[in-house]
């Protein structure tokens, strides 16, 4: 069952000459983990912002084509209403914080939706647990680490019980511990809780391990859609052209194909495929 359907989607920002997205079509199934790859300006952020309705509802742009998310048409419903079904995480967690305590931060979205007090308390408890921040309720959102802030942003989104999570470079400002925290929470939300995940991310080694499918964007168009195993080996010689790196073991195995029984994209595969 597809939860996201995009057909021939074109987005042009006011005052820009070129299209940020240019005739993009794809579908995403329920429970899929999909990574968006591409250089800066390829359209990853615009695509994320179109899926949660921020474009064109809050950021002005002309939009053509069809887009459907969980049966809703994002441009046609208020962003706040869609946020209950589609949680969004951005690259600067501190910009998303506004409250004095972690508890209030998570409560904010629920209050805006008019959820009753008892449900709010239960949802906050559950969502903080999902991201491993139990016991942080009374802490200030500004005095916790970057990884904790980003997980708090995730908890705020999760409290509304969304079915889809959209993450736009969620780890680009985090240290290695913070990155690992955010990736592992994202993975367990996908695998244990069945959330559909759409993530724009440059860390290809991690993406190779987590993602079911990749959407490779280039100048606002889709260059290719497929599994990491299908996509990465094809682009070993075109990393510069597409502005995306491939995992190091993929490059190694492609250039030394006599030593490998296939082309790996993860470290485990590389070890298994290496002919000793």
């Amino acid at each position: 069952m597809s939860v996201i359907k995009v057909e021939n989607l074109t987005v042009q920002y006011a005052g820009e000459e070129t299209n940020a997205l240019d005739g993009v079509s794809f579908e995403i199934e329920k429970g899929e983990f999909v990574a968006l790859l591409g250089a800066h300006g390829a359209g990853k952020t615009t695509l994320c912002l179109s899926l949660n309705g921020i474009v064109p509802n809050m950021i002005n742009a002309d939009m053509y084509g069809a887009i459907e998310v969980l049966g809703e048409v994002p441009p046609k419903i208020p962003v706040r209403q869609l946020a209950a079904k589609v949680g969004s995480i951005f690259d600067n967690p501190e910009f998303q914080m506004s409250q004095l305590t972690v508890f209030e931060e998570v409560a904010l979205g629920l209050q805006n939706l008019g959820v009753d007090k008892d449900t709010i308390e239960i949802n906050i408890k559950e969502s903080l647990k999902l991201v491993g921040l139990e016991g942080f309720e009374e802490r200030s959102p500004f005095e916790i680490s970057g990884g904790q802030q980003q997980r708090l942003a995730m908890a705020s989104a999760l409290a509304m019980k969304p079915e889809i999570l959209i993450l736009d470079e969620p780890t680009s400002n985090l240290d290695p511990i913070g990155k690992e925290e955010v990736f592992s929470v994202t993975r367990s939300l996908n695998q244990e809780e069945g959330l559909t995940v759409v993530i724009a991310e440059h860390e290809v080694e991690v993406i190779a391990e987590f993602a079911d499918n990749l959407i490779l964007l280039e100048n606002g168009r889709i260059n290719e859609i497929g599994t990491p195993q299908e996509i990465f080996p094809k682009f070993v010689d075109y990393q510069e052209a597409i502005g995306v790196r491939v995992p190091q073991v993929t490059e190694l195995a492609t250039k030394k194909d006599n030593l490998f029984s296939g082309v790996p994209v993860t470290i485990e595969e590389s070890f298994r495929m290496f002919k000793k």
Binding site: A39, H40, N173, I177, R245, Q248, V249, K256, I267, K276
Partner: protein, 267 residues
């Protein structure tokens, strides 16, 4: 020639938090150094002593002949250029041209020298077509390039790059790496503060690892990535290619492979 000498450095912030202690380190002109460690380990505090943004609360820091506690940032900045992680904290001029000119004028270049140097640096960094543009109209990656170019234009002996590859895509990272290579050829000291292990492995010769306010490792990337105790203590993850070569047991004890090219040669 600007060597850096840190002796028994301690830095305690006004609120009483000790951010760095017991650090002794010497950096020679022309070295390519990386400073790594988790956020809060003290690495940024350490590095900010090298252009005088912070002064030791105990111990001394020498930049060449100058003891930093006796000189202002203005004087020290001519020797050590600091490129901020977030270009928005650094850039304030209304055009790329003005931004590049500002530092040059500030350190006393003539108008003629300024003109020449701006032409040269903007060509080097691919900024020529943006000279009239407001830096805030540029994307993050290009804005970061402007921040870097405006510091390098002043030709300091030492250049500190704070998280240069954060938020950059593959091409942005490539551009930064080639700038580092060029600076190395010019004999500059390059110090990168970074979580980007492939960058650390491939572009620097010596790594300083900070952990809980202390300098706990000072050696080559090759040694660092073979030192399991330091890696687990600091949660550092070697590049994927390094881990692969370790897993298949190729190479010598105590050293590591640092790049795909390295590994290709050995296989």
């Amino acid at each position: 020639m600007t060597n850096i000498k840190v002796a028994n450095l301690q830095h305690t912030y006004p609120n009483g938090v000790v951010a760095v202690e017991n650090v002794d380190v010497e950096i020679k002109q022309g070295e390519q150094i990386s400073v790594v460690g988790q956020n809060g380990s003290g690495k940024t505090t350490l590095v900010k002593h090298w252009n005088g943004l912070l002064k030791p609360t105990q111990g001394t820091v020498h930049i060449g002949e100058l003891e930093t506690s006796e000189h202002s940032v203005n004087v020290l900045a001519r020797k050590v250029g600091y490129v901020f992680q977030n270009p928005n904290h650094q850039i304030f001029a209304a055009s790329v041209q003005d931004e590049l000119e500002f530092g040059l004028r500030n350190i006393g270049n003539s108008e003629e020298e300024i003109k020449e140097k701006v032409v040269a640096i903007s060509e080097e960094f691919g900024l020529t077509e943006y000279l009239a543009t407001n830096p805030y109209r540029l994307g993050f990656s290009l804005r970061k390039t402007v921040g870097m170019a405006s510091i390098i234009a002043m030709e300091p002996d030492v250049i500190v790059l704070d998280e240069p590859t954060t938020g950059q895509d593959y091409l942005g990272i490539k551009a930064i790496r080639s700038s580092i290579k060029k600076l190395k050829e010019q004999g500059k000291t390059v110090i990168v503060v970074s979580h980007d292990m492939p960058l650390v492995a491939e572009e620097t010769d010596r790594v300083l690892v900070m952990c809980d306010t202390n300098l706990i490792f000072d050696g080559t990337p090759s040694k660092l990535f073979s030192d399991q105790s330091i890696l687990s203590q600091t949660n550092l993850l070697p590049p994927q290619i390094t881990s692969f070569m370790q897993k298949v047991n190729i190479g010598v004890e105590g050293e590591s492979f640092l790049s795909v090219d390295d590994a290709l040669k050995a296989l």
